[in-house]
Each structure stands twice: as structure tokens, then as C-alpha cells.
Amino acid sequence: MAYSDKVIEHYNNPRNVGSLDKKDPNVGTGLVGAPECGDVMKLQMKVNPDTRIIEEAKFKTFGCGSAIASSSLATEWVKGKTVEEALAIKNTDIVRELSLPPVKIHCSVLAEDAIKAALTDWKKKQGDAEAKSAEPATAASH
């Protein structure tokens, strides 16, 4: 099967490969997989808690060219967006941008899932941080 030029371009020059500190409360990590083809994709985002703007995004994907291109594109798109804007990205947007054939649609689904998983993790961390700062007060009331 032939890959589109855009897939090949992302595959040869993947954007934002790497990782962010998983323990940082402002970093959300999403780890997802597509068992049909054995792919696994990790997407991380650093979000400014005040502006809710995604300041940094990194990915590492073990998989086919389409999976790598989908995650590379996803990191490019989310940067500078707010959490809500990033959550609005649909896998069909990725399919269109990369001209993915039907058998590779699941790669784009994976990238959308990774964005959602990373931001869910970030929200959970933010909630935890708030919960923790509220804890002493609760303890004191006893």
C-alpha cells in the first residue's frame, strides 16, 4: 500500500518526538494501543493551569508509518490550543489531513484517543492537586 506524501513527510521528520516529566502535575500522559496491528502510542502534553493552553506536546509511537504520522500531526495541532479546543479534534480531521486509506483509519482513532487520554490524565492530576491542597483544611476541622 502506498502512503500519502504527508504521511511520508511526518514519518521522515516526526515533530515533537520525546517525553515530558510524567510526575509534573501540569503534564498529562496518554498511553493507548491498537492491538490489531500491535501499535502503541504515548502522547504527553504540558498544560498551563491558568490559561488552560497546551504549551508543549511530545509523543513516542511504536508502530506503522500512519500511526507515527497521526501522532506527530496530533502534537503539532494541539500545541497552542486550549484543552477544550484540543478535545474537539476528531480522528476524521487527521484522516483528511493525511489522506489515510480505510485500513489505516484506526491509526487516527488512536491519535484522537491519545489526546483524550492525556487530557483526562491532566484533569485528574489537577483535581488531585486541588484535593491535596484542600486536605489539610479538612483534617484541621476534625
Binding site: 498511553l31 494501543g33 490489531e36 502503541v40 511504536f62 480505510p102 482513532v109 484517543d113
Partner: protein
Amino acid sequence: MSVTQTQRDETGHASGTKCWNCQAPSAGVHFCAACGKIQPLPTGTDYFAFFGWPEKLSLDSAQLESEFHKLSWKLHPDNFVRASEFERDLSLNRSSELNDAYRTLREPISRMEYLLLRRGLRKEGTTKQQAPPELLEEVFELNESLDELREARAEGGDLAALREPLDAAQKNFQEKLEEVDAELSQIGQEWDAALDAGADEAKQQALLARMNLALNRRSYIRNLVASVQKELADA
């Protein structure tokens, strides 16, 4: 076998069809029992039914081999040179379907994948497969360790020193593959027993879901085994 075949007829696989030639209710999947003419395949005939079998996973490979050869012989286009165009087409298409059916059922893994496809648990490209987070963590870390070895070698690392972790990784992945294969074989046996016992749809779906999960795990592990073997071959 005849009991199961009857049940399958009731689910619509081969029932209600009449021989196009002599109008007799055609008992066989491929040929009319009365006049012997080749028949169109009833819609929805799966590869198991193609051979007249239930959807069981334990399959005698010698029997599959012999049925395949028997049918190849009977369906071969050479036998239909003087037949009508309709029959010649049937023979040609059926012969290629026979090859697909044989190839799919021959391997235990592709047999299972086919069953899951037929039962709607797998669909190319669309159905999202869920993988448990622990498995993803594990697979990601294993991939990363493999990547580190790859990079170390690309940077001219000491090959002898790298061989050891690669060998260890291979042993580890190979053991995991054997584990998951044993698990799949166990689930397969349970599936066959459930079919024999006439288990209800819920029970069947539960078994298929377990099968699907184990097969997903196997895909990951098989990829890792292949990657590490490639590294070792290059080392």
C-alpha cells in the same frame, strides 16, 4: 456431525435453497444431492460451513487437508469445461473460495481471528480494540528497551555487551508468547465445549471477548518477538 449441520441449517446457512437445476432441496453445500449439479453458495456460508463443519476451533488438520484436496478435485474448473457458463463461473469462484477457506482455517490463530470477525468482534479498520493499561505499559516499556538497544548499536556500542540483553529480551518475549498461546488454546477448548453444550449467546459472547483480549495481547507480543529477532539477526 449431522446434528450440528442440521442446527446450522436452521440458522439460515443452507436451508431453504432449492437446486437450480432439478428443484430438489439441495442437501449439500456444494453439489445437489439429487442431480449432482454444482450449487451457488448459500449467502452467509462461513468457512466452517464450507466444509460442512460447526464453528469449532479444534480442527483435525489431517481431516482439513483431506477435505480440501477432495473438494479441490471436485470443484476444479477442468471438470466443468463442457458445462454451462453459469456452472463454469460457480466452479471458478468456488475454487478460489476454497483456497481462502483452507488457508484461513489451517492456522489456529487465523481460525480464531476469523471466528471473531464472523461474530462481529473484529472489523477491519473500524472497531476499536481495547487493551488493558497494564498491557500497554508493559508493551511500551519493552519497546523502549528494544529501542535503547537499537540506538546503542547505531552509535557503535559494544555488540557483545548488547547481545546479552537482546538474548534476555528474546527469552522473555518467547516465554510470554508461549503463555498466551497456552491461554488461547484453553479458551478454544472452552469454546468448543460451550458449542457442544449449546451454550446461550451471553456465554458465547463472554468466551469470544476473552478470546479477543488474549489475541490482542498475542499481537503485541508477536510484534516484540519479531522485532527482537530482527535485532539479533542484524547483531
